[in-house]
């Protein structure tokens, strides 16, 4: 009996934001990132029978996504007519799957370490949001990450402003506690 079951019906709700956040820190273009995530879901659907249940669904999808991202960089490199840039994973360290490029210091921005940490922090935040009830998660993301106006959210979701603030309050309390436990 495999440990993990696969059920594509909930994929978009459960994983799309997590995968998107993972991608956007690596390709830095919203449209491209979105396409890659979409491709990943399709590819996952096609190869569902290969899912052995040894890893969680999310881990499995991330491993597909990683390959999609590599393919993406190969493609734009050959488009530009450049010599192929060999992108190696650092398979010898425990951070398997981290890009070589991410380890190179960028003198103009924060340190590479900061960036890496930020990437992981983003994923940690999504992890914590994932633990919220669906409605709370949605409102919290719209308000805090996408920065929608209170009124816009109320109209979109058909809730009152005081309703929204109650939801936000609960979500903030939970997310703060979760991050406190898992990050700081």
């Amino acid at each position: 009996m495999p440990k993990h079951q696969i059920d594509p019906n909930k994929w978009i709700d459960l994983y799309s934001d997590y995968l998107f956040n993972y991608t956007i820190t690596r390709v830095r273009d919203r449209d491209t990132a979105q396409d890659l995530v979409q491709d990943t879901f399709f590819a996952g659907l096609k190869s569902m029978k290969n899912f052995k249940g040894e890893a969680s669904e999310r881990t499995w999808l991330i491993s597909i996504l990683k390959r999609k991202i590599i393919d993406h960089y190969r493609k734009i490199n050959s488009k530009k007519g450049k010599a192929e840039v060999r992108i190696n994973y650092n398979s010898d360290s425990e951070d398997e799957g981290d890009w070589l490029e991410e380890r190179v210091a960028d003198p103009f921005d924060k340190t590479a370490e900061d960036n890496l940490e930020n990437t992981e922090l983003g994923l940690a935040i999504h992890n914590c949001i994932g633990k919220l009830p669906e409605k709370q998660a949605e409102v919290f993301k719209m308000k805090t990450i996408l920065g929608y106006e209170t009124e816009a959210i109320c109209n979109e979701l058909n809730i009152t402003a005081s309703n929204l603030w109650v939801i936000i309050h609960r979500a903030r309390t939970t997310v703060a506690a979760c991050l406190e436990k898992n990050w700081f």
Binding site: I12, D13, N21, F42, L45, H126, M142, L146
Partner: protein
Amino acid sequence: MMNKKNKLFISCDEASHNCDKSQYNEASFLEKIKLSIHLLYCQACRKYSKNNSKLSTVIEGSNVDCLEIKDKQKMKDCFEKELKQQQQ
């Protein structure tokens, strides 16, 4: 009864509400004043306020991102179509 007198002194519920609002820059000047007064004497709310601001700072500095609602819906529609085809 004490309505008039109590206008500047608010309950913990109201204080945390004002605190949440101020995380999104949506608290009015008066609300901020009331919150500050409350924080002077309420330790529990001081703690909440501190954690709340910390959360805002962390999220702001994290570059966390997520899909736009309509993009996600589009993705969902596309995927469900594919899913149906697969199941036939």
